[in-house]
Amino acid sequence: MDNIIEIKNLTKVFPGVVALDNVNINIKKGEIYSLCGENGAGKSTLIKILSGIYPKSTYNGYILLNGDKIEFKNNKDAETAGIVTIYQELSLVQELNIAENIFLNNEPSNKFGVIDQNKLFKKTQKLLDQVGVNNNLSEKIADLSSSKKQLIEIAKALSKNGKILILDEPTSALTDKETEILMSILKKLKKKGITCIYISHKLSEVLQISDRITVLRDGKLVGTKVSKETNFKELTKMMIGREINKVYQKEKHSILETVLKVKDFCVYNEKGKKIVKNVTFEAKKGEIVGFYGLIGAGRTELLSGIFGAYPNRISGDVYIRGKKVQIKNPRDALREGIFLLSEDKKKYGLFMDNTLQFNITISSLNKIIQNFVISKDKEIMYCNKMVNTLSIKTPLLSTYIKNLSGGNQQKVIFAKSLMVEPSIFFLDDPTIGIDVGAKREIYSLIKEIAKSGATVVLITSELNEIIGMSDRVITMYEGEIRGDEKIELTNRKSILNKIFGGD
C-alpha cells in the first residue's frame, strides 16, 4: 500500500512546552490508523496540524499528502485537500435537522443562493445509507441519540469528499453497543478506500479496530505497532513508560451502616413523562455503588434529581442516616453532605476562564473566610494541599483552568469535592475522555474516598469500570432498576442482559 500521508521531522513548540518533538509518521492509504498516548502526549497537536488549525508557519518539519508537500493555512484548506476532522465535542447545530446539518455551509444551491431542497435531501439520503442511519432526514439533531449524532458527523465528513477522516475520541459518549455500530461503519468505509486516523483512550477499542497503532509520549514517538502483533499490556507500557499490573486494585473495605436511602424516586422530563420510575435504593458508609445502564436509562437524571439540580419535576423521598431530608437545590444537597460530579464537566463543573484556586475553593469559601474576607493564605494552603494529594499537574495555582489537560481538569473537580468534605459522592462518569494514566489515578482516588468512610455512587459507561470499582452494581433500564446485586454475585453477561431489558 502507498503512503497517503508522510510526516517528516515534525516539531511544534508552545511557550514552555515541546508539544511535538521531531515526529516521523507514515500513514498508509485505506488503513485505520490509531494514535495513542496520555493527555498531553501530543495527539491533539498533531491532529490540529493535520487539519490546518495550526498553519504551516507555526511548526517545523513537513507533511506530504500523496507525495505533495502540504501548506494549509486553515481548516478549510485541509478539508479541500480531503482531510476532515470529527471532533470530540460534536459540532452539530442542535436545532437544525439532519440534512441541514450535513450540508451546513455547503448547501446545494442555485446561483442566487436559494437552497435546492430536492438535491439536499437526495444527497443526504445517499450519505445516510453509507453510514447506516435510517432516521427521517427532517428530524432535529437534538432528538437523536449520541451514537446517531456521531454517525451524522461522519456522514458530514463524507459529504465534504473526505478521503482521510480524523476521529477524535468518537466513542467517548457512546455505550458499548453503540461503539460496535460505529466500528462496523468504519470498517465499511475502509473497504471503500477511506483512510481513518483514530484517536481514543479506550485501548481495547483501538486494538479491535485499527490496523496499526502509534504511541506518543511527551511529544515523542514511542513506536508503531501492527495491532495484531501487540496487546493491551504492551501499549499501556509504551504510553506511560512503565507496566500497569492491575488497573483496578480491588480492596476489601468495611461496609457499615446505611447512609443514603432513596425511596420511590421519580423524575419527569419537561413534557411530564416519567423518565426515572419509582427508584428505591440504599448506599452504605464506605461503599461504592455502581449504576450501569445504557445512555438514556435515567441514571444521570436520577442523581441530578436527588442532588436538587434537575430542572423539572421530581418526587420521592431521600433519607440521610435515617433522617428525611428536603433537597430543593444543590445548595441544600451540599449542606446535607452530597457532592455531584457531573458527566459534563465543562458545562456543570468548571469555570474555564478562572484560575485553579478559584475552581477548587468556590464551593467551600466559608473555610477560607476570616472576618468576612477571603484569606489568601488559607486559600493557598488548602489548594497546595489538594494539588499535592491529587498530583494535579499545573505550573501555578493561578493558572487558568482552560490551560490544563482534561485529566487535570477532572482532578480539579475532585479537589473541589474534597474541599467540601461531603459524606456522599455522586460521580457521574468521572473518567470520561481521560487517558489511562489519569484514569488509574482517579480509580485509586475513588477507592481512597470510599475507604475514608464516604459513600460513593458511581455512574460509568464502561462495564469494566463498573465491575472493577463497585461493591454493588445497580442496573437500570428505561428509568427502572432491573437489578441490585453484590458484585461477587453477578457477572458480565447478567449485567449486560439487564441493561438491554432482559431478565
Partner: protein
Amino acid sequence: MYIALIFIWLFFTVRTEGTFITTRNLSNLSRQVSILSILATGMTLVIITGNIDLSIGSLMGMIGGICGVLQVWYSWGTLPVIIVAILCGALIGLLNGYLISFIKIPSFVVTLGGLLMFRGALIAINRGITISPMAESFKFIGQAYLPEELGYLLSIGLILIFDLIFVKSRNFNIKYNFKIEPLSKFVLKLVLYDTLIIIFVLIMNMYRGIPIPVIIMLIIIGIFTFISQKTKFGRYIYAVGGNYEAAFYSGINVKFIILYVIVLMGILSSIAGIMLTARLNAATVSAGMNMELDAIAATIIGGTSFSGGIGSIPGAILGALIMSSLDNGMSLLNMNVYWQYIIKGIVLILAVWFDIYYKKE
C-alpha cells in the same frame, strides 16, 4: 489603555492651547468623571454576571426628578430627600432584579423597558419642566470642595493605603515564591503612583480643592473593589457570570447573587442621580440621558467581557476617564455634537479591537 489616555490628554492640550490642562478644567473633568465612574463601577458588576442594565440613565434622571420635587416643591430637608432617593433606587433595582433573575426575562428587555418607563416617569414627575434651585446643603454634594488641609491629609492617607496594599501583596508573593517584579521597578512604580496622587491633590488645591463628588467616587470605588476582590459575594459574582450552571451546581444561590448586583446598580444609579442634580443645581427632564451608554462603553473599554465572568472595577474607572476626557476635550474645542458622537463611537470600537488584538498576541 493608559497610553491611549495620555495620548488623548496630550492631543487636547495641544489643540486647546493649554485650556485642557488648566486647573479649572481638570477640576471640572474630575467632577464629570466621578458620576460616570460610579455608574461604571456598578455596570462592571452587572456585566460580569452576564447581564446588562440599560435603564440607569433614565433611572438617574428620575431619581433627580424625585429629589427636585421633594426638595423644591415640598421643601423637604436634604437628608430625608437623599434617603428616599436611595431607597427608590434600591426598590427599582429589586424589581428589575426580580424580573431578570426569578422570572428570567432577559436583562436587556427588562432594562430597555426601564429606560423608557423611567424617562416617562421623570417627565410626569417634573411635569416637563426644570426644577430648581436646590438647597445649599444639597448642592454641597455636587459643587463643594474639600478644604486644602483636608485635601493634603487625604493624599497622605491615600498614599499610605496604596503603598500598604502594594507592599503587602509583594510580601505575599515573596512568601509563596510567586513571580515578583524586581525591587527597583517595584519602588519606581510606588513612587510613580504616589507622585500621581500628590500631583492630583496639588492641582485640585490650586483651583479650589478636591471636589466632593471625587471623594464620594473614591469611597465607592474602594468599597466595591474590595467587595469584588476580597469577599465571598465578589467571588460568586464572577462565578455566576463565568458559568451559571456550574455556579448553581457549586451550591451558589445564583438567583440572589444576580438580584443583589442589580439592586446595587440601582443604589449606585440613584447616588449618581443625586450627584448630577446637585452639580446642575436642578432636576431636568433630560438628566442622565445616554449615560447608560457611556457607562457601558467605559466598562467595555476597561476590559470587562460581555460574555460574563471577566472584568475589573479599576479597568472600568480608566474607561470612564477616557470617555469623560473625550467629552470634556471635544466640548472645549466646540466640536459639533455629531462629531462628538462619531468619535466616541470610534474610540469604543478601537478600544475593544485593540484589546482583542493584544490578547491574541
